[in-house]
């Protein structure tokens, strides 16, 4: 695994050895899921080969159907550890017998061999309990979500196995849900006000009437992304997760406590947050993580189509087998529809839909306007390294380029005008707009002590902004940012507060309906937070109180009876 570069930011994308084959496997997975051209028996046999081929796509040599002391479905080696895999794709959940069979085969092999059981239908409660209470943990239990995450590249196999081994070794967990596995253990961290690294005014150059202010900064993050829900609520991507920031109450909390997310997220109408991670796309809602799509080549960004559908722009691999593409996402992994895009591979930095038929891409080759699958129309951008891109109207976009300049370009005439020049560092930036014409910018300021601080600033302009560009699917109001402050203000001269969270979290919980607290949690929630069957309930005493009520009622009755004759008086 190595970290790639994306306009100066380490995006930590994992190189896929064979991305073309991985995309084919993802397409085939849809057929397997729907039992197209397969019986349940042939699907189970094919699954073994798909697992092996998927591992080979990540440059992990794997062998299928190893026959010796009991047949092994798949065998492979990662980081010096030998894994033997037993895979089941049946309607029923895997039970104790299935897992015990693999445990026996692991014991028959050399010490240190690790068993991996993959059950696409999950596990019975007894099977999980038996493994949890066994003498020694010898197998890792994976379900469909783990497999989909690996197949999509959301959590590549090497990272997945490392995380699973950590949980099994340190916590004794054979089966760890996907959302728990990649949950961030770091508290959200923002500082309101102007950071020390920013010397001088925010606006370097600006036409009359344009004003700017630094809203807050993130002290250290190698990832940044930005979405404006409404003028007071933003979603901000950091290397530790995606947080909601409430500008009114100066609070911040996780909405997606998943480490390794990159670029700007999208918010669905139901409050779910769609995000990109590694080579895949995930969807997070109320602590549940689902894999939406994957197999994207190069660097990716999410795009919202005017019809409300979610798309991914992937810039491809420079000189590789795959070029840029726009992909319409379906509900589940394998449902995506990929359309090639003519932007030179590896050169585009961002993309967005400007109308129902046209997509704009921006990068080192300039600004292109195209109908997916057809030829491009190029527009010149007099900006170095444009990266930030946001649609203003169907005929105009705003781009953010080097050191840091904001430029509005008309898609009809190709004419551009500089909106503002900012005293911010580098070219990596993300933009968002609000309906009132305010532009939100996330960009790095001068790095210090090896840290990568970035600021989020608001530039008030008189730009014409199409309301549909701001909230294309009615997201405003469906996601509420934190109402209370847990972050700090620079003007109060207090050190920033990082909430203690040394131990790995078991699950992230967040609901879009009620504002979460500064730590991304709803202090008050009326639905059950724990999953069904995964909690112990302790009831309060009520008998003693009923007894007191009874005694009191008796006392009242007795007093009433005694008082009545006296009240009547001697007459």
């Amino acid at each position: 695994m190595h970290a790639g570069r994306f306009g100066g930011v380490r995006t930590q994308t994992v190189p896929v050895f064979d991305i073309v084959r991985l995309q084919d496997l993802i397409s085939e997975y849809r057929g397997l899921r729907r039992l197209e051209l397969h019986t349940p028996q042939t699907r189970g046999q094919r699954l073994n080969q798909v697992i092996a081929e998927m591992l080979r796509c990540w440059d992990i040599e794997a062998t299928t159907s190893i026959r010796s002391l009991g047949e092994i479905d798949v065998g492979f080696s990662v980081g010096g550890v030998r894994y033997v895999v037993e895979a089941k794709w049946e309607r029923a959940k895997a039970d104790t017998g299935h897992v015990a069979k693999l445990q026996k085969r692991v014991r028959q092999r050399f010490a240190g061999t690790c068993g991996v059981f993959l059950s696409m239908s999950g596990y019975s409660r007894e099977a999980l309990a038996d493994v949890a209470h066994g003498e020694r943990l010898e197998v890792l239990l994976l379900d469909a979500s783990h497999f989909e995450a690996m197949l999509a590249g959301l959590v590549p196999p090497e990272e997945m196995l490392s995380l699973l081994l950590d949980r099994a070794s340190f916590y004794g967990e054979a089966h760890t849900p996907l959302a728990t596995l990649i949950v961030s253990t770091v508290a959200p961290h923002v500082t309101f006000g102007i950071p020390n690294q920013l010397t001088g005014p925010l606006l370097r150059t600006a036409p009359p009437g344009v004003t700017g202010e630094v809203l807050f900064s993130v002290p250290d993050s190698n990832q940044l992304g930005l979405v404006c829900l409404d003028p007071e609520h933003l979603l901000v991507t950091t290397q530790h997760g995606i947080m909601a920031v409430d500008l009114a109450s100066r609070g911040a909390g996780w909405v997606v406590p998943v480490s390794g997310c990159h670029r700007s997220p999208l918010v669905d109408t139901d409050g779910a947050v769609v995000f990109t991670r590694r080579n895949g796309v995930g969807r997070y809602r109320s602590g549940e993580l689902t894999v939406m799509a994957g197999g994207f080549a190069g660097d990716t960004c999410l795009m919202r189509h005017p019809d409300g559908s979610t798309w991914v722009f992937s810039n491809g691999e420079p000189g590789g087998a795959i070029g840029a593409a726009v992909t319409r996402l379906g509900g589940r992994l394998g449902d995506e529809e990929r359309i090639a895009h003519d932007y030179p591979a590896g050169c585009a930095m961002n993309g967005c839909w400007v109308s129902s038929g046209e997509v704009v891409a921006v990068g080192s080759s300039g600004l292109s306007v195209s109908v997916p699958g057809r030829a491009l129309r190029w527009l010149r951008v007099s900006q170095a390294n444009p990266m930030g891109l946001v649609r203003l109207t169907p005929t105009s976009v705003l781009t953010g380029g080097d050191a840091l300049s904001l430029r509005c370009t008309s898609l009809g005439s190709g004419q551009g005008v500089e909106v503002a020049g900012l005293n911010l560092h580098g070219s990596v930036n993300e933009l968002a707009v609000a309906a009132d014409g305010s532009v939100y910018v996330a960009a790095y300021c001068q790095p210090t002590d090896g840290r990568m601080p970035f600021v989020v600033a608001r530039i008030r302009t008189a730009l014409e902004v199409d309301a549909a560009a701001v909230a294309p699917v009615g997201i405003t109001g469906s996601v509420a940012a934190p109402a209370t402050g847990g972050a700090t203000t620079a003007d109060a001269a207090q050190p920033t507060i990082a909430a203690p969270s040394a131990a790995p979290a078991l699950s992230g919980q967040w609901s879009a309906a009620v504002p979460p607290s500064a730590n991304g949690w709803q202090v008050s929630r009326h639905d059950r937070g724990n999953r069904q069957g995964e909690y112990v309930a302790f009831h309060g005493r009520s008998g003693i109180y009923w007894a007191i009520v009874g005694i009191n009622v008796l006392l009242i009755l007795v007093l009433a009876c005694h008082r009545r004759p006296r009240d009547l008086g001697p007459g």
Binding site: S507, G529, F538
Partner: protein, 120 residues
């Protein structure tokens, strides 16, 4: 006058009897269903959890987490979570009002909370 007082405390105890506190400790966090509110503490916000004696000598489930001061310092007689300024922690729930014994709650905390459970 005494009847009025008796009726008032009867109503109070009636409410306590009809809506007892419920504490749930699970894989995702700790939840307290009290008369005043339902408080939710996912594990990822909890730094440490302890069962300890507070004022009056009653055992309480106490949690250390960022944002503890978001809870009220006094919860009326609702029995819900409240902020303990001296400890900088949250008194999640009194233990003596629960039917379960202390050690059962501690076992549940260990089972689901792992290394977050402190001195007990």
């Amino acid at each position: 006058m005494i009847e009025v007082f008796l009726v008032a405390i009867t109503i109070g105890f009636g409410k306590m009897a009809s809506a007892p506190i419920r504490l749930e400790i699970g894989g995702q966090g700790i939840q307290v269903f009290s008369r005043s509110d339902t408080s939710w503490f996912p594990w990822h916000v909890l730094d440490r959890v302890e069962v300890m004696r507070l004022e009056g000598g009653n055992l309480h489930l106490v949690a250390w987490c960022a944002g503890a001061n978001m809870f009220p310092e006094f919860d009326g007689y609702g029995g819900g979570a409240r902020f303990l300024p001296r400890l900088g922690a949250v008194a999640v729930c009194p233990i003596n009002v629960l039917r379960a014994r202390r050690h059962l709650i501690v076992r549940a905390l260990h089972a689901y909370g792992g290394n977050r459970v402190g001195t007990l």
